[in-house]
Subunit: 140 residues, 2 copies
DNA sequence: CCAAATCGAAACCATCATGGTTACGATTTG
DNA sequence: CAAATCGTAACCATGATGGTTTCGATTTGG
């Protein structure tokens, strides 16, 4: 998880929620995120596979949110972009002739999963609607 | 957090705990991790700064754990290697002229911190002693 | 007191992920 | 039919990562 796709995905979805039923073009969205439209389309393509948004070509086309903002959690978005959110193990497998090397991966996998689950539980508690409220509550 | 240093650090510390008072050389440790001794020394240098281990040059030298295994948690190790464990924000700052772009970073920072804290709470519950027990409990 | 062992650290490298960019075809709308 | 928009492949620059070599400094033990 060194990449910014998760953050961009949340940003874009919040923007779509903010826009309501109106379709937004990747060019417009790229203007808010401050990047290239192709980058936006790449990320939105993943969100579309997950059933969160739909796209339409041609004039007047663009992207729309498919669910109510309160029905999309930050965990849903994480799953949709599914960028490795957990801890990677060794670059090359450890030495199996060593008692520690032999067992450490299985042991760590369990503990990492537990920690990851706790994080996901928190992400599941926040929805796009919460973000929208935060955005609208902002001064001037 | 795309790097494997956290996993390697835990592996190495578990090995030192396993070895007890005996000093282990970076070459020996590299044999268990299955990598280059310099990589091990690099990671151990960070753990030494954090006060977790000490090193000694010369024949008979090597690395030793400075604390009791039950006094070192996985969170302590994470802090010691301090590789970015959280979610990165945008690659380039969002457009401040957009209501969403203007506020999204501050909003997300808060939610990410909460999620991260939940994860760290779990990591704090596991110590090197727990790992050692898991290693020793392993069959044949 | 010397030889060997070990760490410390810099320098360099190959590989890969990432984000950005260009380009162009396909589709859809009006 | 023309313009807008998406879809996607291809390519690129950049930076992080893990590995490797090298050599000096320190320490130990004989």
């Amino acid at each position: 998880m060194t990449n910014t796709r998760y953050t961009v995905a949340i940003h874009v979805l919040t923007l779509l929620a903010y826009a309501g039923p109106e379709a937004l073009t990747s060019e417009f969205i790229a203007g808010s995120v401050n990047t290239n439209p192709v980058v936006i389309r790449r990320i939105l393509a993943g969100l579309r596979e997950a059933g969160l948004v739909r796209s339409q070509g041609g004039p007047g086309g663009g992207w729309q949110l498919l669910r109510a903002p309160e029905a999309v959690s930050l965990l849903d978005v994480l799953r949709a972009v599914d960028t490795e959110a957990s801890f990677p193990l060794h670059a090359t497998p450890p030495n199996l002739a060593c008692p520690v090397g032999r067992s450490i991966q299985a042991i760590l996998t369990g503990h990492f999963r537990t920690a990851q689950a706790a994080m996901e539980r928190e992400l599941a508690r926040v929805s796009l609607r919460d973000l929208l409220e935060d955005v609208k509550a902002q001064p001037a």
